[in-house]
């Protein structure tokens, strides 16, 4: 093991690969998450391209029914659990300590473990394609279709095991982030001085901590139904498929806020900096975020209006669902208020943030439309829903993530992404996205159900389906342009400087990329926008002391070993007990090593 790492004298004995495998540095782990998330985004995107190609014309013949069903299921799972959540976690990892003025997260090794476990979950899920048995029951896997009677192959076992493992990873990282934000703040960084992005992270962490256990129980029960003869979700001995739906959506709805809140946080960072003025209504935005988090637990049955929920529950859940539009509206208006009166620098990051406002609003109001149960009777399981989810997920979550990528790329690499190509890419994504997903509103209105691999020509659905397919190819170009941009930029010298945007938050007070210990001197925070406060009050940056004695936790391979143990346990749950037993042994060994390993 390497010695304690200060600023000086890194011991470079290990190979680069080994360094990445054993790292406990939150920034490196953040990069791992980002790369992994983006790779899965491409996989999910390719699945989407196949789906759209099949649907381009009536009676398409590109895919058969079975493959189509696997693809849309895996598309959703990949995008939600393996692309957006990891990319969100990537920024969390990288920027929580930088934003709150800490040297690392509270539990660096746990952080590394989270990443390896997430990767294991992703590999388990995705490897199902290799066996030709990918899950095919839709991402919410409604029983009893997913029971072993109707889905006898292994697909749904990959689903249960993969999601439990990925969920474990999210639980661990969320616990870590929650503790970090509560406990590791720099002097003066009170909760009400936290950057909005940190607040959204905080809410997301709690959403996950409190909703993941519910889905874990549901997945366990499904696993038992499929493998141990129970009937939780099948009528066989008195079970009830509706229970699955409740448990899934008790998790599922908070989950959608897990996907959107990080992007809302990013937009709340980018807009003030680019408008060169403080965020409009900080307290309101924070409160709205918390309100969304709390309300988000009380609306789950809006996914179940058509199941025969009964009159009173329909009243209750439609009221609570619509009510969520109010705090969300507060956010939208406050972003507009932030732009108002500004001197907005039109960078690519700004483009994406403004795009976010427009597109997310479209998705949000279609959400409020189907919050009305009678209307949902016409929307549910139609393409109107598909339009809604992609406006909030692509127009919202992905747009926000791209905004963050352009905004923080210089901090992470010391290099500014090319603005011209960035903007061209933005227009491809913006136009492509609208061309793909807006027509789905029309299709929904014309009564096209979702999850159909084929449709007839005489239903008036062909034009808009064709347009939507054109749209996705434009999206592909946009994504390729972005990748090219990153690739070209990484080959150029690092010239961005520490603070290219004139940022307000602490990450801009350190070098780009930041040193392993983040800050030479942990800054004292006097205001919500600490750097602007210091600038306006002529408070100089603290001097770098002549002797730095900062002990950072040494790298450790135990997280990786424990991750492998958990992967083996998961693989064993899909194949044989022997592998699980091996996994338990490996994990137990790793836990001991972990506990006894010196951390100084």
């Amino acid at each position: 093991m390497a010695t304690a790492v200060g600023t000086v004298g890194h011991t470079h004995e290990e190979s680069t690969v080994w360094k990445w495998l054993t790292t406990v540095d939150h920034k490196k782990i953040g990069v791992l998450y980002l790369v992994t998330g983006f790779a899965f985004f491409l996989i999910g995107g390719i699945e989407a391209v196949l789906i759209r190609t099949q649907l381009a014309v009536p009676n398409g013949t590109v895919l058969d029914a079975g493959l189509y069903n696997q693809l849309f299921t895996m598309h959703a799972l990949t995008m939600i659990f393996l692309a957006i959540m990891p990319m969100g976690a990537a920024f969390f990892n990288y920027f929580i300590p930088l934003h709150i003025g800490a040297r690392d997260v509270a539990f660096p090794r746990l952080n590394a473990l989270s990443y390896w476990v997430l990767l294991s979950g992703g590999l388990i899920l995705t490897s199902s394609f290799l066996f030709g048995e990918a899950p095919d029951g839709g991402w919410f896997a409604y029983a009893p279709l997913t029971d072993e009677t109707f889905s006898p192959n292994k697909g749904l076992d990959f689903y249960t095991v993969g999601l439990v493992v990925a969920g474990l990873a999210s639980l661990m990282s969320s616990l870590n982030f929650a503790v970090t934000i509560i406990n590791m703040r720099a002097p003066g960084m009170t909760m009400m001085r936290l950057p909005v992005y940190m607040w959204m992270t905080f809410v997301v962490a709690f959403l996950l901590i409190l909703s993941l256990p519910v889905i874990t129980v549901a997945l366990l029960q499904l696993y038992f139904d499929r493998n141990f003869g129970t009937h939780f979700f099948t009528p066989g001995t008195g079970g009830d498929p509706i229970l699955w739906q409740h448990l899934f959506w008790v998790f599922g709805h908070p989950e959608v806020y897990v996907l959107i809140l990080p992007s809302m946080g990013i937009v709340s960072e980018v807009l003030p900096v680019m408008s060169r003025k403080p965020l409009f209504g900080y307290t309101a935005i924070v409160m709205a975020g918390a309100a969304i988090g709390v309300l988000g637990f009380g609306v789950w049955s809006h996914h179940m209006y058509t199941t025969g929920l009964g009159t009173v529950p329909q009243y209750v859940f439609s009221a609570s669902t619509m009510a969520i539009g109010v705090p969300t509206g507060v956010k939208v208006f406050n972003w507009l208020g932030t732009m108002y009166g500004g001197n907005i620098r039109m960078t690519t990051a700004t483009y994406y943030s403004i795009g976010f406002i427009a597109l997310f609003t479209i998705g949000g109001i279609s959400g409020v439309m189907h919050a009305s149960p009678p209307v949902d009777g016409q929307h549910q399981d139609s393409y109107f829903i598909v339009a809604h989810i992609h406006y909030v997920l692509f127009g919202g979550a992905i747009m926000g993530i791209f905004s963050g990528l352009f905004y923080w790329f210089p901090k992470m690499t010391g290099r500014l992404l090319d603005e011209t190509w960035g903007k061209i890419g933005f227009w491809f994504l913006f136009v492509g996205m609208n061309l793909t997903f807006f027509p789905m509103h029309f299709l929904g209105l014309a009564g096209m159900p979702r999850r159909i691999y084929t449709y007839d020509a005489d239903l008036g659905w062909d034009t808009w389906n064709f347009v939507a397919t054109i749209g996705v190819y434009i999206l592909v170009v946009g994504i390729l342009l972005f990748m090219l941009n990153v690739f070209m930029t990484l080959r150029k010298p690092a010239t961005a400087g520490d603070d290219p945007w004139g940022g307000a938050t602490l990450e801009w007070a350190t070098s780009s990329p930041p040193p392993e210990h983040n800050f030479d001197v942990v800054p004292v925070v006097r205001d919500r926008d600490p750097l602007w406060y210091n600038r306006d009050h002529n408070i100089p940056m603290p001097e770098r002391p002549a002797h730095l004695h900062i002990h950072m936790p040494p790298p450790s391979y135990f997280p990786l070993v424990l991750g492998i143990g958990i992967l083996l346990i998961g693989v064993g749950a899909l194949s044989s007990l022997a592998i699980t037993a091996l996994g338990v042994v490996v994990a137990y060994y790793a836990v001991w090593g972990w506990a006894l390993e010196p951390t100084e």
Binding site: N183, S211, P213, Q221, T230, T237, G238, A595, T599
Partner: protein, 197 residues
């Protein structure tokens, strides 16, 4: 776990130790976990189409005994924490051992109960009662088992030392939080499943 995590020793914003905070938030998460399992059990109350039903099987005197055992293990656990905090190494070790033993006795009762029920014809797949009962109490039992391992590791680790620092006390303290939580979950389970007819 056993040894010190120096990585998290430094001063914290709230003055609460990171690991303690982590444990408490984790326990909040566990509330939801057991909440969902208990919900399942309650929802399926009376939904079993074929027997055996709870009334045919549940043996209240027996389970009261094991409940008492678990309750006492909470007492010994708290005394172990007390010992650790007041630098009474012997008390701590003894009480940890007692807790472990009581935990094992509880598990023994549970194994006996499961085998007995299986003998009387209740399996996972028999009816809703079987499925939700075994899942809930089984997962609780797993928690007890993990707790036993956790405490045993602490005991082994403390055997190598003869003094106790604040750090070690904290480890026992945190393990205690976990142990007590598993105990209060049982309090709820015992009332809802066994006592309420």
């Amino acid at each position: 776990m056993a040894a010190a995590h120096a990585e998290t020793q430094h001063h914290t914003t709230t003055g609460i130790d990171n690991r303690k905070l982590l444990m408490w938030i984790f326990l909040a998460s566990e509330c939801l976990f057991f909440g969902s399992l208990i919900s399942t059990y309650l929802i399926f109350r009376g939904d079993s189409i074929v027997g055996p039903l709870p009334a045919d099987l549940l043996d209240i005197p027996l389970t009261s005994t094991s409940t008492f055992v678990l309750l006492m293990s909470s007492l010994t656990m708290v005394l172990a924490v007390f010992g650790a905090q007041h630098n009474r190494l012997g008390l701590m070790k003894g009480m940890l051992l007692a807790t472990i033993v009581l935990g094992l006795v509880f598990l023994g009762f549970q194994v006996y109960e499961f085998r007995h029920f299986a003998h009387l014809g209740l399996n996972l797949g028999t009816n809703q009662f079987g499925a939700s009962f075994y899942l809930l109490t089984g997962i609780h039992g797993t928690h007890v088992g993990v707790g036993v391992l956790y405490l045993a590791s602490l005991l082994v680790a403390s055997a190598r030392r003869n003094g106790l620092g604040k750090e070690a006390a904290l480890h026992v303290d945190i393990a205690g939080l976990y142990w007590h939580f598993v105990d209060i979950v049982w309090i709820v389970i015992f009332t809802l499943i066994y006592l309420i007819p």
